[in-house]
C-alpha cells in the first residue's frame, strides 16, 4: 500500500498534536504502520506548527514537497503556506477562522482576504473544503473542540484511510471522559459539513 500522507498545519496551541495522536493511534489499532513528525518547543508560542504523518509503510514522517494527499489546515494563512506540499489530486480541509500574527501591524505583507486565499487554494488542489471550525466548535459546546471539527472533516475525505468508528474509539482513549460529548458533537459537525461539500 502506498502510504497516505497527511500534512497538518496551523498555529501553536490549536490542538494539532493531539489530533495527530488520535489519528495515529487509530491507525496503529487497525494494524496499519504509522509515523508522525511533530514540532515541540519554541515554535509553539504562537508560531507556525506543522505535523506530518504517513499511514502505511514508510521510514520517515517527512513528506516530500507536492506529495501530501491531504492538508488539514487549522488556520487560513497557514493553509496557503502549506501549498508547496500539495498536488492537483490533494484535498484541503481548512478552518476559515483567522489568527492574525501578533506583529501584523508592523509586517510588510498584509493578511490576505479569505476569498483570495480560497481561490488560491482552489486553483491548485483537487478539492478545498472550508468551514468556520471555530464557530462550529463553539456551537458544539467549546472552542477547544475545534480540532475535532477538523478531524471530522478529514474523516469525510475520499481515500482517507481511517474509518469513523476507529477514530471515535481513539478519541475516547485520548480525550478526558467529560469532554467526550462535546468533542463527538464537534467531530460529527465537521464530518457532516465536509460530506455535504463532496
Amino acid at each position: 500500500m502506498h502510504p497516505y500522507h497527511i500534512y497538518i498545519s496551523g498555529v501553536g496551541g490549536q490542538g494539532i498534536i493531539k489530533t495527530s495522536v488520535i489519528m495515529g493511534e487509530a491507525a496503529m489499532k487497525k494494524g496499519l504502520p504509522v509515523v508522525v513528525g511533530e514540532i515541540h518547543g519554541m515554535s509553539q508560542r504562537g508560531g507556525v506548527v506543522s505535523t506530518q504523518m504517513k499511514i502505511g509503510v514508510s521510514h520517515s514522517p517527512l513528506i516530500e514537497e507536492g506529495n501530501a494527499d491531504l492538508i488539514l489546515a487549522f488556520e487560513p494563512l497557514e493553509a496557503v503556506r502549506s501549498l508547496k506540499m500539495i498536488n492537483k489530486d490533494s484535498y484541503v480541509v481548512m478552518n476559515t477562522a483567522p489568527i492574525y500574527p501578533f506583529n501584523l501591524s508592523q509586517s510588510e505583507n498584509s493578511y490576505p482576504d479569505l476569498s483570495t486565499i480560497l481561490s488560491e487554494l482552489r486553483s491548485h488542489a483537487k478539492k478545498v473544503m472550508a468551514m468556520d471550525a471555530d464557530e462550529m466548535a463553539q456551537k458544539a459546546g467549546h472552542i477547544l473542540s475545534m480540532n475535532m471539527v477538523m478531524l471530522g472533516g478529514a474523516a469525510a475525505v475520499p481515500g482517507f484511510p481511517l474509518d469513523k468508528k476507529s477514530i471515535i474509539k481513539s478519541m475516547h482513549d485520548n480525550l478526558p471522559e467529560r469532554s467526550i460529548p462535546i468533542n463527538l458533537k464537534a467531530f460529527e459537525e465537521g464530518f457532516k459539513f465536509c460530506m455535504s461539500k463532496l
Partner: protein, 626 residues
C-alpha cells in the same frame, strides 16, 4: 494513550510513542535506578514523563540544577553500582562536558547512558552542533537511533555495553527522532535496585596525574575491544544490495534515504550505521569493496564522511566519496527526502525529474513565535523601555538569556541584543559594563538564574560591574513546558521540597540594590526600573509573576473582560504597536479589538492606554458584559 501505560504496558504490547517516551520505556526495561536531567528541547519530554512515572516505578528522578550536576549525580550512582540515565539537549552536554571527560577515565560500575538530543536546523536552540564529536572527544561508545522503536531497544543495548566495559555510553537522537511518534513494541520491565554501595578505589575514581595516565591507557584498550564489536555488530546492517553505488547513513537521515530509495526503486546498497563509534572501519571497508562510489548521508557535520575517506586513504582504495565535502549534499541544517533525492540526482549525473511543486504568488505575512497573551515578560519589557525613555537613556545594551524571554528579540520589544548560552546574560553584562559607556540592562529567567546565573552575579559584585539585571521570575521553566526548579516548593518527583529564595540569594551575593516588582503593576514597576537605572552600582530587579501557562495558579479576572471603548479610542495604536499583545488586533473596519478568548485579563493594556479607552467590564450571569 494514558502516559502511565509507558510503565504499565506489558511485554509485546504496542504503544504509539514519541521517541522521547520510548527512551523512558527503554530506561524502565533496563532497570535504571537513577535518572537526571536539566530540561531542554528536544529532550524535554523524557523528563516530563519520568517526572510522572518515577514514584510508581520505584526509581529516583530529579530535575538537576544544570546538566553538569545532572551528569555528576548519575555518575556517582553508577560508581555505586546502580544503573543511571542522564539526558539533555545537545548544548546541555557542553555544560556537562567537564565531568563527562573525566567519567570516561574513571569508568563506571553500574551501566550509565548519556542521551544527547541534537537539534539540526535549530527548531529550539542557539546552534546545531553535532554531538557525535563528544564520543570522539571523550573516547566513549556512541549509538545513533533512527526511530522510537530503536530508541527503546538501543537504551537496553547501551546498558549492556556500558556494564560490560564499565564505560558510559552516549545515545544520540535528533529532533526528528525525539519528536517522531511511531509504533513501539514493548519489552519486559526490569526492576531497579533501590540502593547501591560505593566501593572505594581511588586508583580508579580519582583522576590525578599519576592515576589519570593509567586510566587513559585503559580507556584506549577498552575502546579497541569495543571497536571489534562495532565492526561486527548487527546494528550496522546492509540493505538493498543492488548496483555499484553505496549509501552510508545514520540516524534520522537513514529514514529519508530509505523512503527515497524504496519510493523510486533505486539500485543502490545502503549501509546503516547505528553503532557509530568506535567507527566500524572494517565494516565500511567490506562495504566499499562491492561499490564504486559512495554517498554519505548524515546530520549535521561530515563526520562519517571523513572517517570513510580515512578508510579509503588507509587502504589506498580507488573509490569516490560524495557527501557534504564535495557539495553533493548541503553542509548545514537537517535533511529531508527532497534534499536526498536532489543529492542522489547530482551524484548520478541524472536530472531527477524536477517535480512541479506549487508556489503561491501571494505575499504572506510571517508568523514568528511570540510571548503569550498576558505574559508577564511583555509587561516588564514595556516598563524597562519606558523607564529608560523617561530618563532620556537611549543607548542601551540588552544582553539576554535562554528562555521564552528570548522572544523579546522581535519588534516592538527589541530587548535582545546579545546572547551566547545559559547564564551568559550576566557574564556578558560584566563585560559590556567594563568595555563601554553604554547602559546595560540584562534579562535572565528564574530557572536559568539557578542553572548558570549565580557565579557571574558574584563576579559582577566582586568586580564592581555596573548594570541592571532583571530576573524574570515566572515561577517555572516555561519554554520547555513548565518543569520545576529550586525556587519552587516541589521537586521533579512531585514531592514537597525546600524552596530557595532568589532575592535572598541575590542579597547573599552582595548586591545592595534588590527590588521585587509585580510586572502587571505598570506605574510602580516603571518607577523601580527608573531607580535601578539611576543606581550607581549593580542593581537587581526581580520581576515576579507566574507564567500564564501554569494551570494551578489562580487566574486573574475570571469575572471580567476587557473592551475598547470606541467613543474614547483615538486609534493611537499604542496598544497594538508598543505592547503588541497577540490578543489585541485591528478589525477589518479599523477598530482596535480585544480577542476575548485569547485575553488573559492581565490588564496591562488598560494601564498603558494613553486615552484610558480600554475598560475592564464585569461579566454578568447571562454571559453579557455590563
Amino acid at each position: 494513550m494514558n502516559i502511565k501505560e509507558i510503565l504499565t504496558g506489558q511485554e509485546h504490547d504496542k504503544l504509539f510513542l514519541l521517541g522521547n517516551e520510548a527512551a523512558v520505556r527503554g530506561a524502565l526495561e533496563s532497570g535504571v535506578a537513577v535518572a537526571t536531567t536539566y530540561p531542554g528541547t528536544p529532550s524535554s519530554e523524557i523528563g516530563n514523563v519520568l517526572s510522572v512515572l518515577a514514584k510508581d516505578a520505584g526509581i529516583y528522578f530529579e530535575f538537576s540544577i544544570n546538566e553538569k550536576v545532572a551528569l555528576e549525580v548519575a555518575a556517582a550512582a553508577s560508581a555505586s553500582g546502580l544503573r543511571s540515565f542522564t539526558f539533555m539537549k545537545h548544548v546541555g552536554v557542553n555544560v556537562a562536558s567537564d565531568s563527562l571527560m573525566s567519567v570516561a577515565y574513571t569508568s563506571v560500575q553500574g551501566g550509565m547512558v548519556i542521551l544527547t538530543a541534537d537539534d539540526p536546523s535549530m527548531f529550539s536552540s542557539q546552534n546545531e552542533q553535532d554531538n557525535r564529536y563528544y564520543a570522539r572527544l571523550a573516547n566513549i561508545p556512541l549509538l545513533e537511533a533512527s526511530n522510537p522503536q530503536e530508541v527503546k531497544d538501543l537504551m537496553k543495548y547501551a546498558y549492556e555495553l556500558s556494564e560490560e566495559f564499565k564505560l558510559p555510553v552516549i545515545l544520540r537522537t535528533t529532533t526528528r527522532v525525539s519528536h517522531m511518534r511511531g509504533v513501539v513494541e514493548l519489552g519486559q520491565l526490569m526492576g531497579a535496585k533501590s540502593k547501591g554501595h560505593f566501593d572505594k578505589d581511588p586508583n580508579r575514581f580519582v583522576p590525578v596525574p599519576a592515576t589519570a595516565r593509567i586510566m587513559h591507557k585503559n580507556l584506549v584498550k577498552k575502546m579497541d575491544k569495543i571497536g571489534v564489536l562495532s565492526n561486527n555488530s548487527s546494528l550496522n546492517p546492509i540493505y538493498n544490495k543492488r548496483g555499484n553505488i553505496g549509501i552510508v547513513t545514520s540516524g534520522s537521515a537513514y529514514n529519508y534515504v530509505m523512503d527515497v530509495v524504496e519510493e523510486n526503486d533505486l539500485p543502490v546498497n545502503v549501509l546503516k550505521i547505528t553503532f557509530s563509534y568506535p567507527f566500524p572501519e572494517k565494516r565500511v571497508y567490506e562495504f566499499l569493496e562491492n561499490v564504486e562510489r559512495v554517498l554519505v548521508v548524515e546530520e549535521v557535520d561530515p563526520i562519517m564522511e571523513k572517517e570513510i575517506m580515512a578508510v579509503v586513504g588507509k587502504h589506498q582504495l580507488n573509490k569516490i566519496i560524495h557527501g557534504k565535502l564535495d557539495g553533493t549534499l548541503p553542509m548545514i541544517y537537517e535533511y529531508n527526502p527532497d534534499i536526498i533525492l536532489q543529492g542522489l540526482g547530482k551524484m548520478m549525473g541524472v536530472e531527477m525529474a524536477a517535480k512541479k511543486t506549487v508556489k503561491t504568488s501571494l505575499e504572506l505575512p510571517k508568523r514568528p513565535p511570540t510571548l503569550c497573551p498576558g505574559c508577564p515578560h511583555r509587561a516588564a519589557y514595556f516598563e524597562v523601555k519606558k523607564a529608560a525613555e523617561n530618563l532620556n537613556m537611549n543607548d542601551l545594551i540588552f544582553p539576554t538569556d535562554i528562555g521564552c524571554y528570548t522572544l523579546g528579540i522581535e519588534a516592538p520589544y527589541e530587548v535582545a541584543d546579545y546572547l551566547l548560552s545559559m547564564g551568559s546574560s550576566i557574564g556578558t553584562s560584566c563585560g559590556f559594563s567594563k568595555a563601554t559607556l553604554q547602559t546595560v540592562v540584562s534579562f535572565i529567567g528564574d530557572s536559568t538564574f539557578f542553572h548558570a546565573g549565580i557565579p557571574p552575579l558574584i563576579n559582577a559584585v566582586h568586580n564592581k560591574n555596573k548594570f541592571v539585571l532583571v530576573i524574570l521570575d515566572n515561577r517555572t521553566t516555561a519554554m520547555t513546558g513548565g518543569q520545576p526548579h529550586p525556587g519552587l516548593p516541589v521537586d521533579g518527583m512531585g514531592l514537597e521540597a525546600p524552596e530557595l529564595s532568589i532575592p535572598d540569594i541575590v542579597r547573599a551575593c552582595g548586591v545592595e540594590f534588590v527590588e521585587i516588582i509585580n510586572p502587571l503593576n505598570v506605574a510602580k514597576s516603571r518607577e523601580i526600573f527608573e531607580q535601578a537605572l539611576q543606581f550607581d552600582k549593580l542593581a537587581v530587579v526581580i520581576s515576579q509573576y507566574p507564567c500564564m501557562l501554569i494551570k494551578t495558579v489562580e487566574k486573574k479576572g475570571k469575572n471580567i473582560f476587557l473592551q475598547v471603548q470606541d467613543d474614547i479610542c483615538t486609534n493611537c495604536n499604542t496598544c497594538t504597536t508598543e505592547l503588541s499583545c497577540p490578543a489585541i488586533y485591528t478589525s477589518d473596519n479599523g477598530k482596535t479589538r480585544i480577542d476575548e478568548l485569547m485575553c488573559r485579563k492581565c490588564s496591562v493594556c488598560v494601564q498603558i492606554c494613553p486615552e484610558k479607552a480600554i475598560r475592564a467590564k464585569r461579566i454578568n450571569k447571562s454571559g453579557e458584559g455590563e
